[in-house]
């Protein structure tokens, strides 16, 4: 919750929903929970516009409402973290595609675009899209299976609903109802599909489904951990950790700080069943001891009974990952020497500058310069100890130390700023080259129109030549720039995710 964060939020809203929604969203971000008329008064927008904007935001679950003390009026709150998640949509879709294939990808994509929908309508829409985009026929039955598997895996969740009729409804969702498979009536669906029955006649009307971000985050977290182990040890160790996490879900709540002990035998059985990692199976016991004896101490022996069991320390893992991330940032931003000083201070907790020179083996002058530079950029802190003595000179020690929470919040802030800068730059580039981009779009629409009318290749080529070669070059360059900026946006989001995980576990 900072100015920088607010700027990113308004930029995202601006990009996705236009200026009116952005104005309302920004106001809500700044003033917290407020009723409708306050928004109208302070944004100077007509009431209808404000209402419209709120509707859009509520539809996308970016704004929630609660009854005021006067139960007829609602208070609106912006869910700013949800707004930020919109940047991660591409990641979610990619994740589902890898895990469940194309059909599921499209289901999630449609759902993310619409925010929520009934199961039957969603399936019908996906079938339609498949026909149009890929010219591929998909049956209702197979898609229904896919949908059910997504619900069972908890990637989709039912939208909270209201049971009583009140001016400001209270949306609830009993825990037992979250992942109950909806009723499908295939006959009715085929009728609707062919347009013989109205959409309202579907049996699951009013039962809306939406994407369960939490589940995606669990997957992303697991992937992060597995990748980390793969990087530190090898692929087999990564696979081992993946199976360990998989077994963890059976007896531990997903966001627990420490998993309950998982029997080693279970993991071994799974490795055997998979039969993909022969090396892991052959040296299974060795892998167990290597992982368990590692300095990082992320996997520890849980108990001896039944061949032993292992525990994975998730909170601890993210503490270490966050440290490493910060260390890498120091490394890239300053130098390897600065990173060395940073790690030295980390390992000694409190350290004097003389000791830094000696232990890090850096010349006195440079060590001083680097440590004070780090201090200036708030990566290090100093604590001064004054020895109070009535006689003789006053002796004081200057001890360096690190406040990791502060450093991480600062880094997160830097991430937001970077996001903001990248998005601003993107908009700026678009604005600068607006004329050419518009021209390209015009030409494209003309070509499309002519192709439909059945124009010859020569005519089409004539029109295409309206974009001159230098213009084409510029267009290519813009394209490249946009791609670069977009990919970097996703990479920053990964860093944000890691740091947010750290804060979540605190």
């Amino acid at each position: 919750m900072s100015v920088q964060y607010g700027k990113v939020i308004s930029l995202i809203l601006q990009e996705r929903f236009g200026p009116v929604v952005e104005k309302v969203g920004t106001y809500l971000f700044q003033y917290g929970t407020v009723p409708l008329l306050y928004i109208k008064k302070n944004t100077n927008l007509p009431l209808s516009k404000v209402k419209e904007a709120l509707c859009i935001l509520i539809k996308y679950r970016l704004v929630t409402f609660t009854p005021n003390r006067n139960a007829n009026v609602a208070n609106y709150t912006l869910q700013h973290d949800q707004v930020l998640l919109t940047l991660r949509y591409a990641n979610y879709i990619n994740l589902i595609k890898k895990k469940f294939g194309n059909e599921c990808e499209m289901i999630v994509e449609e759902l993310l675009q619409r925010s929520y929908w009934t199961a039957s309508e969603l399936i019908l829409k996906v079938i339609e899209r498949f026909k149009k985009d890929h010219n591929k026929a998909v049956t209702i039955l197979s898609l229904r299976e896919k949908f059910i598997s997504l619900v069972n895996a908890q990637y989709l969740i039912r939208l909270p609903y209201s049971e009583e009729d009140k001016p400001v409804p209270n949306l609830i969702l009993p825990e037992t109802d979250q992942f109950v498979i909806p009723q499908f009536e295939l006959k009715q669906m085929t009728l609707v599909q062919s347009g013989k029955a109205p959409v309202d006649s579907l049996p699951d009307r009013g039962v809306y489904w939406t994407v369960n971000f939490d589940r995606f985050h669990q997957d992303m977290r697991d992937k992060l951990i597995v990748n980390a182990f793969t990087k530190k040890f090898d692929e087999n160790a990564g696979e081992f950790v993946r199976l360990l996490l998989q077994q963890m879900y059976i007896r531990t709540t997903p966001w627990a700080e420490v998993s309950n002990p998982v029997p080693v035998i279970e993991i071994r059985d799974n490795v055997r069943k998979q039969a993909t990692h022969q090396h892991l199976l052959a040296f299974f016991d060795q892998y167990v001891s290597v992982l368990e004896q590692d300095n990082s101490q992320l996997i520890r022996q849980g108990g001896e009974a039944g061949g032993g069991s292992l525990q994975i320390f998730l909170k601890e893992a993210f503490v270490q990952f966050a440290w490493e991330t910060v260390e890498q940032i120091v490394l890239e931003k300053f130098d390897s020497k600065a990173a060395r000083i940073f790690r030295l201070v980390k390992s000694k907790q409190y350290i004097e500058s003389d000791q830094i020179q000696q232990l890090a083996m850096i010349p006195a002058k440079e060590a001083k310069r680097l440590s004070y530079q780090l201090l200036e950029e708030n990566f290090l802190q100093v604590q001064e100890l004054k020895k109070s003595s009535s006689t003789g000179p006053n002796k004081s020690f200057t001890l360096f130390h690190i406040d990791i929470n502060q450093v991480i919040r600062m880094t997160l802030e830097l991430c937001y700023k970077t996001l903001y800068n990248i998005m601003t730059r993107k908009n700026h580039e678009r604005l600068v080259h607006k004329r050419i981009i518009d021209k390209k779009q015009r030409v494209e629409t003309i070509i499309m129109g002519m192709r439909v009318q059945g124009a010859g290749d020569e005519q089409l080529a004539d029109i295409e030549e309206m974009i001159t070669p230098p213009e084409k070059e510029i267009l290519q360059k813009i394209d490249l720039t946009m791609k670069k900026l977009n990919s970097v946006e996703l990479e920053i989001d990964e860093t944000i995710f890691l740091l947010q995980m750290y804060l979540l576990y605190q």
């Binding site: 160790a237 892998y287 060395r340």
Partner: protein, 301 residues
């Protein structure tokens, strides 16, 4: 024994006997002691011998409880002060006591009670006689310490192997750091390629500081000879660079092993903003803003 012809040699043997006696009793000998041990020595001759010894410095005279004691003094040291005046002797003695740590000129002044100009003169004359030398301390570049000429300065003064004329040789340290890491990395790669399971590979990839020391010595990149402790401190910097881990072996020494990190380079530093030195001054308005940012422009090209 022919007394008449051998009086000169007798004198020297008596002298030797006396010194022998003094050597055996480092706390000092009294006149009574001498009488007991060397009864055949006449008193006059003893006085001559003692005077001679006191003059050339092989014996020292002490007075405790109205008794005179003679103490033996190493003659290898005493020869150097020959021909020096009293001030020089005192200053020399003070410097000698400081050993290989050296002593600061201010401390000499306090101990000797000489004034500055006089002390400077004395020190200069001792220096020209090559009896003492001045060594610049690494801890404070302007501070000079004095010590005996033939002593090797302590590592706390010179800073050990890493200092050349009180300049820290950071390049030398960097090269050693890289080589140590290369050695550890090689070792772990070899261990991995040998096969035989991860535990075996891990245990094989550990190296002790003396292993690394041997490797570095064979490389011959160092002009001066490094001790194992020096290598140990270099290895610690490798650990601090997060390129190696250090564990304590069963015998209490350290074992080192190359390791890789958990986290790949974070996305934030792949952008220009993540490593931008002036990111704090960047804003929507003003000269530094993302729309005209040069770092961005360069990066996008």
């Amino acid at each position: 024994m022919n007394q008449a012809s051998g009086s000169g040699s007798q004198g020297s043997t008596n002298e030797e006997r006396l010194i022998e006696l003094a050597k055996s009793k480092p706390e000092g000998i009294s006149n009574e002691n001498i009488k007991q041990q060397i009864p055949d020595l006449p008193l006059e001759e003893l006085a001559v011998i003692i005077n001679k010894c006191l003059k050339n410095g092989s014996l020292e005279l002490f007075k405790t409880k109205d008794k005179l004691l003679y103490k033996y003094k190493d003659s290898s040291k005493k020869t150097t002060v020959r021909g020096a005046d009293n001030e020089e002797k005192i200053v020399y003695k003070i410097i000698e006591e400081a050993g290989n740590k050296g002593i600061w000129i201010r401390d000499i002044r306090f101990k000797s009670n000489l004034n500055m100009t006089q002390l400077n003169k004395v020190l200069k004359s001792l220096e020209t006689k090559k009896l003492i030398k001045a060594v610049k301390s690494v801890s404070a570049s302007k501070k000079k310490v004095y010590m005996l000429y033939d002593l090797e300065a302590d590592s706390s003064v010179t800073g050990g192997a890493w200092y050349q004329d009180q300049d820290f040789e950071s390049e030398f340290v960097d090269v050693l750091n890289q080589q140590c890491y290369r050695f550890l990395k090689q070792k772990s790669d070899e261990a991995n390629s040998m096969g035989g399971g991860p535990l075996l590979a891990r245990n094989r990839s550990y190296a002790t500081a003396s292993d690394v020391h041997k490797f570095i010595s064979e490389l011959g990149i160092s002009k001066i000879s490094l001790s194992v402790d020096d290598i140990e401190s270099i290895l610690y910097t490798v650990v601090l660079d997060n390129n190696a881990e250090r564990i304590v072996a069963t015998n209490g020494s350290f074992l080192y092993r190359a390791v890789s990190h958990f986290v790949p380079t974070p996305g934030i530093v792949k952008t220009t903003c993540g490593i931008c030195p002036i990111v704090n001054r960047c804003a929507d308005t003003g000269l530094i803003n993302p729309k005209v940012c040069n770092y961005f422009t360069e990066w996008l090209q």
